[in-house]
């Protein structure tokens, strides 16, 4: 068990090397002559106006909120799926009820018009 995660640990420790090496190599091989015009923010050739970090569409936030429900659900459903062979029909019924409760959340969000892109 633990030796399984040793591999993942080594992988996590070593993996930054692979993207870092080309980027550092690029920095060494490529030219480096910055000037103010070159460093301007790209916007189709015109100068950018105002700040980038502004208010954005609240819809994105709502979709993220609906996602959180389902993401948590998945965390609970995967153990059920693994233990599936040992569960009796009653336990599966309980799991299905759980899925229904979540579907209910989706239906609620749907009926409230949360899922309309305006």
């Amino acid at each position: 068990m633990l030796s399984d995660w040793q591999y993942i640990g080594i992988f996590v420790a070593l993996s930054p090397i692979f993207p870092l090496a080309p980027v550092v190599l690029n920095r060494l091989l490529g030219p480096h002559r910055p000037n103010p015009v070159k460093q301007q923010t790209y916007e189709c050739g015109i100068e950018t106006v105002g700040d980038t970090w502004i208010q954005f569409k609240v819809q994105y936030y709502i979709y993220a909120l609906v996602f959180v429900i389902f993401d948590i659900e998945a965390v609970f459903l995967f153990p059920i799926a693994v233990a599936y062979g040992q569960l009796d029909l009653f336990a599966i019924g309980a799991a299905v009820l759980f899925i229904f409760l979540l579907a209910d959340g989706l239906i609620y969000a749907w009926s409230r018009g949360v899922l309309e892109w305006v």
Binding site: Y7, S15, P19, N26, Q39, L115, E116
Partner: protein, 451 residues
């Protein structure tokens, strides 16, 4: 001499680790060394295969669009085109635009490659040729691949560019949404195999799970397209709208890292599909063949078979890109939340009930047939429901939007094929569109041009 032959055969039969243990003795230190070696080999393989993948995609998409594609560098097939591109990227200047948030801006290209590499740890290439067979393999894959959402936000937010921020928001909404049907579709193979270990799932597939649950495979495939941002779901980097999306301000090898992670993601999704639904490396038992000297040469067959299937799926990825146009953002989200998610919820519900109702000791063909029947039944029921829905939409649109459908697809249907065809003809039929006082379900009244 014997030793060299031993080494050679071990390398050829993909059992170099066994050779090391045999020759230098086993122990915790040895295991550590083998693990490090395996990590380096796996990562290097992943980085190198991308060079080939990019060439392959360019060549295939060119053929589909009636072009020739790369044909100058490296012979008439342009085999070295990508190598030349990599060298070009290496010699380009790394520009840090003014006003970038330095830490997220530079962390994003690193993290995206790290996430793309780490998921390969649990993919079984052949019997015994697997990074590590985690007992929560599928869960690990989902956990690591959600890291890419964080990467997108880092890149978009750190770039100090409006296109980048827009692209990042779109991408996060898309990835987060399509992760739900993907997770639910992945539950089906897990239920059928009763394990989350990728190797365990392959072992359970005496008959590939594609035949058990074609609908789950389809849902997984569609979400995989969206998760990797492929056409028709490529609006996170829609060139015609937001130039390049979240990686617009990146140049040189930092841009290259995003590109690399993207292509590695396509191959990974193909490999995952093969593992979960097509039986992975299984090749009629031939993959377990051990030769006279104790060298497991069958692994070679397994490896070849695995990659054949993976590349066929990769070809389908490219094929889809060459066929379908891009969809709009509201269509993208509607398609997911109002179609794929409910469908996968119903599917997981049916599979969970049906597999429990099948009595223990039923033959695997019988079990497969029952599951297949359930899947196909649900698939045809869905198609029928969609057909009816589409027809109802058409009639309501033609009869002047008397009872607008509540769901979202109706919102844009009347704009194009609405009553416009009826009104100017002046037949005197009651057209109830543009009076402004009609209950149109909160929508804008449709203005009909009268010539």
């Amino acid at each position: 001499m014997n030793n060299i032959l031993d080494l050679l055969w071990s390398l050829l039969s993909l059992s170099f680790g066994d050779y090391l243990r045999r020759t230098f003795g086993s122990g915790p230190g040895m295991e550590l060394f083998i693990d490090i070696l395996s990590v380096v080999a796996l990562s290097t393989f992943c980085l190198l295969i991308v060079i080939f993948l990019i060439w392959l995609e360019r060549k295939l998409i060119a053929r589909m669009q009636d072009r020739i594609g790369p044909n100058r560098v490296g012979g008439r097939y342009g085999l070295l085109q990508t190598v030349a591109d990599v060298l070009k990227l290496l010699s380009k200047e790394v520009i840090n635009p003014a006003g970038v948030d330095w830490v997220p801006f530079n962390l994003a290209p690193l993290l995206t490659v790290i996430a793309a590499l780490l998921v390969w740890a649990v993919i079984p290439f052949a019997p015994g040729v697997i990074g590590v067979d985690l007992n929560i393999g599928v869960f690990y894959i989902m956990a690591i691949s959600s890291l890419s959402v964080v990467v997108l936000l880092l890149a978009g937010w750190g770039s100090n560019n409006k296109y980048a921020l827009l692209g990042a928001f779109r991408a996060v909404a898309q990835m987060v949404s399509y992760e739900v049907p993907m997770l639910l579709a992945l539950l089906v193979p897990v239920i059928l195999a009763r394990t989350m270990s990728t190797k365990g799932i392959i072992d359970a597939q005496a008959i590939p799970f594609l035949l058990y649950a074609p609908l789950s495979a389809l849902i997984f495939y569609i979400s995989a397209l969206a998760e990797t941002g492929r056409t028709p779901f490529d609006l996170l980097e829609a060139e015609s709208e937001i130039v390049a999306g979240f990686h617009i301000e990146y140049s040189g090898m930092k841009f290259g890292m995003f590109f690399l992670a993207e292509f590695l993601g396509y191959l990974f999704m193909s490999a995952l599909f093969v593992t979960l639904y097509l039986g992975g490396y299984r090749f009629f038992g031939l993959e377990n063949w051990v030769s006279a000297g104790g060298y497991p040469f069958g692994r070679l067959f397994g490896l070849i078979f695995f990659f054949t299937k993976t590349f066929i799926l990769y070809f389908v990825f490219v094929w889809v890109r060459g066929t379908l146009p891009r969809i709009r953002v509201d269509q993208l989200l509607d398609y997911n939340w109002k179609f794929l998610v409910p469908l996968s919820l119903v599917l997981i519900f049916l599979v969970a009930i049906v597999d429990k109702l099948i009595p223990e000791g039923t033959g695997q063909f019988m079990r497969m047939a029952i599951h297949l029947a359930v899947n196909l039944g649900l698939g045809f029921a869905t198609l029928e429901a969609l057909r009816r829905y589409g027809q109802r939409n058409k009639t309501t649109a033609n009869s002047g939007a008397a009872s607008p459908p509540s769901a979202g697809h109706g919102d844009h249907a009347p704009a194009g094929h609405g009553p416009a065809g009826h009104v100017p003809s002046g037949h005197g039929e009651p057209v109830q569109t543009d009076h402004g006082d009609m209950p149109l379900g909160g929508r804008e009244p449709i203005t009909v041009p009268i010539h």
